[in-house]
Amino acid sequence: MLRKYALKRLLVAVPSLLIASVIVFSLARLIPGDVVTLMMEENQYAQDLDEMRAKLGLDRPIYAQYVEWMGRIARGDLGQSLYTGKPVLRELAWRLPVSLELGAVALVFAVLIGIPIGVVAAVRQDTLRDYVARSGAILGLSVPGFWLGTLVVVLPAIYFGWSPPIEFTRLDDDPWRHVAQFLLPGFLLGVASAASIMRLTRTQLLEVLRQDYVRTAWSKGLAEPRVVLKHSLKNALIPVVTVLGIQIAQILSGTVIFESIFGLPGMGRFLFDAITERDYPVIQGINLVIVGTIVMVNLVVDVAYAWLDPRIRY
């Protein structure tokens, strides 16, 4: 049953991926003509207009371009950077792990902060603690991450003469410093997600706590931690799993900002530099990798959802 559902869900993911690939593909076709000229003159990406068009893959009928592009991608060729001439895939091979590490740290912080506070807020509904938690969550969704990042870099430098390291340390050079450099940006990146997770945990847990079987658990004389953590939280967390997919997309967005502020050579920074250089093959390649990742994450999340909650069958 579950396998059948997983297969069905996989089939639905295919058209989403295809449409997303068309969107990514169309990006380069939207470049205004004068910009192509500008790219030639300013960045010297090509000798003349024909060569420029050929490099951007604009020299053939549009459907042929798409089919050829997809064919190359299927063979693992994401194109070459116009700026450096290096294959996009090779560049991503070492940059993607940096972003994934940052994202993973952020997600861990988001879950470790969001769920416990959400539980406390729900169990102590309408008390001071609940209000503080809820206002704090909205504040967490309101404060721009790039501002927090800027303050964390600037203020300690002024008052304590200390600033976070902005040189990248590789894993094989110094494992401890390698992990440590992700903690601060990861925490800041996770704040907004923690707020979302806290809000959802709270509302879901409140709903579960009102159900009959929970009343039964209370009347059996079970202690509060057991009722809340063992009987209620398990069911309340199922919908929280589904928003993890959305949160991962949010966190990937944030990597662009935090990698720039903290000098981490990840995929987000790569994308930002590519946008500054108008390096369209790189932009397309990164977008495709990101969309693919997110469609896959959502697929896994949906199947996990069905596995966790057997009542769900679409």
């Binding site: 309101s142 721009p144 501002w147 509302t203 589904t242 720039s260 987000g268």
Partner: protein
């Protein structure tokens, strides 16, 4: 441009369609809203302050946003310059006040455009269902699977930076998310007998959607639009911070935190503090107002994944 959603207007939705002589009821309703949702009322106040600052920036700000004041470089906050001055001798308080104009313009135009798009897509998708719905929803899925900042930056890389392009890119993305909610509201409205009655009386599709469905999903449209406003303003500031939103010399709060100013922030931390405070406060206000509105207008939306 959209008028701000004021508490009275909001309450009018909650107590039913406005009838002649309903002013007193609206005022009483506003009072009730403030008592029941103090944080929402606080949010409304922040939003009102933002709109006033944007509308009367010339009267409120002591200096022009690009005026370079002689002998006033990097002055700390004080009696003369409330928020201090920046590295090219401009008054930061004045720039914050004028920056409200950018936030209001981008925020409200984006949300208005997105509401139009989302209502069209959401209502037709929920009304016609079938193959059209499936195709449209797959496209919405695909848009939503892009992380917002990444697709918008990529779009702006192609279209070029600027206020208009920022609004266009942000509204397409906001519309995709909002159309989902409007579609599900439409799905439940379509089930009502009065829709069938309208059809039996010979109303066409357009008439049914415009006269019978739209008024019934309008509260949902207002709520999702208000809730998205905070996010849109936050996104605009992030884009301007990265240098792809509203170009200088227009003072965008996000832009004030980026670029050449960054190196001076070590000497003048107030340059880094005030724009961020402004963004946080305004987005906080919109989020509070949006949450309270949702509880009052459309409790079904409570507990949404946000």
């Amino acid at each position: 441009m959209a008028r701000p959603i004021e508490v009275e207007q909001v309450e009018r939705w909650a107590v039913g369609r406005a009838r002649p002589g309903a002013l007193r009821r609206a005022v009483a309703g506003a009072g009730r809203f403030c008592r029941r949702k103090p944080l929402g009322a606080f949010g409304g106040l922040v939003v009102l302050a933002l709109v006033l600052a944007a509308a009367f920036a010339e009267r409120i700000a002591p200096y022009e946003f690009d005026a370079q004041i002689p002998d006033a470089r990097l002055v700390p906050p004080g009696a003369e310059f409330w928020f201090g001055t920046d590295n090219v001798s401009r008054d930061i308080f004045s720039r914050i006040v004028f920056g409200a104009r950018v936030s209001v313009t981008v925020g409200f135009s984006t949300v208005l455009l997105a509401a139009l798009l989302a209502a069209t897509v959401g209502i037709t998708s929920g009304y016609f269902r079938g193959r059209y719905d499936i195709v449209v929803q797959r496209i919405v899925d695909a848009w939503q699977s892009f992380p917002y900042l990444i697709i918008i930056l990529s779009l702006l890389a192609v279209l070029g930076p600027g206020m208009l392009n920022t609004i266009l890119a942000l509204s397409i993305l906001t519309a995709a998310a909002n159309s989902r909610v409007i579609r599900s509201a439409t799905l439940s409205v379509v089930e009502n007998p009065y829709i069938e009655a309208a059809r039996a009386m010979g109303s066409g599709h357009v008439r049914i959607m415009a006269r019978h469905i739209l008024p019934n999903v309008a509260p949902t449209i207002v709520v999702v639009a208000t809730i998205s406003l905070g996010g849109v303003i936050l996104a605009e500031s992030a884009l301007s911070f990265l240098g792809y939103g509203v170009p200088p010399p227009h003072p965008s709060w996000g832009g004030m935190l980026s670029g050449s100013g960054r190196t001076y922030m070590y000497k003048a931390p107030w340059m880094a503090i005030w724009p961020g405070v402004a963004i946080s406060l305004v987005v906080f206000g919109f989020n509070m107002l949006g949450d309270a509105l949702r509880d009052v207008l459309d409790p079904r939306l409570r507990g949404g994944a946000r």
